[in-house]
């Protein structure tokens, strides 16, 4: 196995041994890749946003000698086509895509790993196909309840980051600020490219400024790239305005009984101000057999040292199951 040294928080960089595309609907064509050990334990990585796309660094949460690591870009983002499309783009389309990819790759069951929106999608997938999931590794928990959405876009985060919030709402005229998400949605779906881009930049900046415990210039640069921001902001806002396409806001909690048997680790940063610690606490209460790891010196990002170390430890623990 590839051992994680004490001062490492991620496994070494690796290249995929296989990548390809899967046509999942008339319109949507997804990018996927496999890395690590082709005979290893399968794991699928579910990225955040929605609309965030995958990154080569996402391969590094898994021991490449033990895991067959599957990454894919969800509809409309990363290298999937059509870029930034909102058509046929819902939670349940994505759940079906995860299942289609599993079948396409001839995988019987796999570990499901996801943070932030990736944790939402992981739980939605596991509740739909509980027999296909060997373990769940979840980070920066978000179950798409109203309370959680309001924390980030209204009541909570702004109290701790009022300076960043002022910049976020400055994009929207005062008479539209009563419903910020709707105001942003109008701009993000505008016919005017300049309007879309400006809204996408402000939307993404808000999130990236509050994603790490300490300001992270590298993350800010990445999140300012227009190729990233348009898909990220449009798709995220589309999901938010539609309440995550849940039948009711507590749907994912209501169905937790279907996944109690799945070994689960929950990793959450104490100072995650995007998805507050309370989200993880509530999920842990709903999954009493789960392991909860609270990282005292971290925010929301997957790549703060305490978080990535805890995630790697979880996948290492599950590697031989």
């Amino acid at each position: 196995m590839t051992a994680l040294r004490d001062d490492d928080t991620l496994y070494p960089e690796i290249e995929p041994y296989h990548f390809g595309r899967l046509q999942v609907s008339e319109l949507h064509d997804l990018y996927f890749e496999e890395s690590g050990n082709p005979k290893g334990k399968p794991v699928v990585f579910l990225h955040g946003g929605p609309g965030g796309g995958t990154d080569p660094k996402h391969r590094r949460f898994f021991d490449p000698e033990k895991y067959r690591i599957v990454l894919f870009d969800q509809r409309g983002c990363g290298q999937s086509d059509p870029h930034a499309s909102l058509v046929d783009n819902t939670t349940w389309h994505l759940v079906a895509d995860v299942e289609a990819l599993r079948e396409y790759l001839g995988i019987e069951r796999w570990q499901v790993f996801g943070g932030s929106w990736g944790s939402t999608l992981a739980v939605a997938y596991a509740e739909t196909y509980p027999d296909r999931v060997t373990e769940l590794v979840l980070r920066g928990i978000f179950m798409f309840t109203k309370r959680e959405a309001e924390w980030f876009y209204g009541k909570g985060t702004r109290v701790l980051f009022p300076d960043a919030w002022d910049d976020f709402i400055a994009e929207i005229p005062e008479d539209e600020q009563g419903d910020l998400i709707a105001a942003y949605y109008r701009r993000l779906t505008s016919d005017d490219e300049a309007v879309r881009d400006a809204a996408a930049a402000a939307w993404s900046l808000w999130e990236s400024r509050v994603a790490t415990l300490l300001p992270d210039p590298e993350l800010l640069r990445h999140c300012a790239d227009p190729a990233f921001t348009l898909a990220f902001a449009r798709i995220e806002c589309h999901y938010f305005i539609n309440g995550g396409f849940l039948k009711h806001e507590k749907q994912l909690f209501a169905n937790l009984h279907t996944i109690q048997h799945i070994p689960t680790t929950i990793v959450h940063g104490r100072y995650d101000v995007i998805c507050s610690m309370e989200n993880a606490w509530r999920l842990h209460k709903g999954l009493p057999k789960s392991d909860l790891v609270v990282v005292r010196d971290a925010g929301h990002s997957a790549f703060e040292p305490g978080i990535s170390r805890a995630l790697c430890e979880a996948t290492a623990r599950y590697a031989d199951l």
């Binding site: 009541k155 702004r158 109290v159 701790l160 009022p162 415990l213 300490l214 309370e278």
Partner: protein, 321 residues
């Protein structure tokens, strides 16, 4: 790498200490340390009800400052202990003036954090010519939304485990207004009931006051019954009475009285007791004051980045009249 940070000045003993009878029932403890010929500064502690400790002397250069600490009515070494009678913001402001006259000080620097910042602002608005500079930390202006954030909904999302302990002693039916529920118990005629409520109240605040709370600190402070009782009772008394201000925005409405006073506002980004929002609102109402947000700090005055900014501020002001 961060440039090295300033640390506290060495511990010193007072050269003078005494009690001042400020009303028929209240006698307050005060002390002077540092240089008797130095620049006078008065330290206003938090809570209300927190009292002073020897470490509070160490924010000031003892060669340059005449450092005056006192315990506000009902706490620390002031008597009667934990008394709520004749204990209001305006009584405390009168005490500060009485102490200034007693010590024959013309004008002094006023230094206060948390509730100490509330008191400093209200004092400066009432007696601007007695104040040479203001050094404020962990800003609190006692508006209803600030009290609700900490005692009803807000900080609860970031420290859900500690919050569970805080609400545990209160029956479900009373949890819609936790402040009132606690006040009833803290002013109960049964000393057991008072003490149990005081311990839980203080534990909640101590569990959330540092970026990295230590179980040891929390336990130590919460097991000091005398401290907890004064702290919890006096805090709840002030919060139930909206700080005895005529309106929730009293400080902002009177800000013009003190805008000419040189001031530094030091605020921890992850202060969940008095979140940045208040410092930001104050900054907008009073742009002349210098706002220093410390990225890696919570509420406590003793967080390394907070100490750095406070000592820098008092040093900068040390040679100014």
């Amino acid at each position: 790498m961060l440039p090295s940070r300033r640390t506290l000045y060495p511990e010193i003993a007072p050269y003078d200490a005494g009690h001042l009878q400020v009303s028929e029932i209240h006698s307050i403890y005060y002390e002077q340390s540092g240089n008797p010929e130095g620049k006078p500064v008065v330290f206003l502690h938090g809570g209300p009800g927190g009292g002073c400790s020897p470490r509070h002397r160490c924010f000031f250069d003892p060669d340059k400052y005449r450092i005056i600490l006192f315990d506000q009515r009902g706490c620390g070494r002031s008597t009667p202990h934990a008394s709520l009678e004749e204990n209001t913001t305006w009584d405390l402001i009168a005490d500060i003036e009485a102490l200034r006259e007693h010590l024959d000080v013309d004008a002094w620097q006023v230094f206060g954090g948390s509730w100490g910042s509330t008191l400093a602002l209200a004092y400066a608005a009432k007696h601007p010519f007695a104040v040479s500079q203001l050094v404020l930390r962990g800003i609190f202006t006692l508006r209803p939304q600030e009290v609700l954030w900490f005692y009803q909904e807000g900080a609860s999302s970031i420290f859900p485990e500690a919050w569970e302990q805080f609400v545990a002693p209160i029956p479900m039916g009373e949890r819609a207004d936790l402040l009132t529920a606690y006040y009833i118990r803290l002013t109960s005629s049964d000393p057991e009931v008072r003490l149990e409520a005081a311990r839980a109240w203080s534990t909640w605040e101590l569990s959330t006051s540092h970026l990295f709370p230590s179980a040891e600190d929390i336990h130590q402070a919460a097991s000091d019954d005398e401290f907890s009782l004064a702290f919890a009772r006096i805090e709840a008394h002030y919060f139930m009475n909206q700080g005895f201000f005529a309106s929730p925005w009293w400080i902002y409405d009177n800000i013009d009285n003190l805008r000419h006073i040189p001031a530094v506002i030091v605020q921890g980004r992850y202060d969940v007791v008095c979140p940045v929002q208040t410092a930001w609102d104050l900054h907008k109402a009073w742009p002349e004051a210098e706002l220093r947000i410390v990225d890696d700090a919570g509420h406590s005055a003793f967080e390394p980045g907070i100490i750095h900014e406070l000592v820098e501020a008092t040093d900068r002001f040390a040679d100014v009249l």
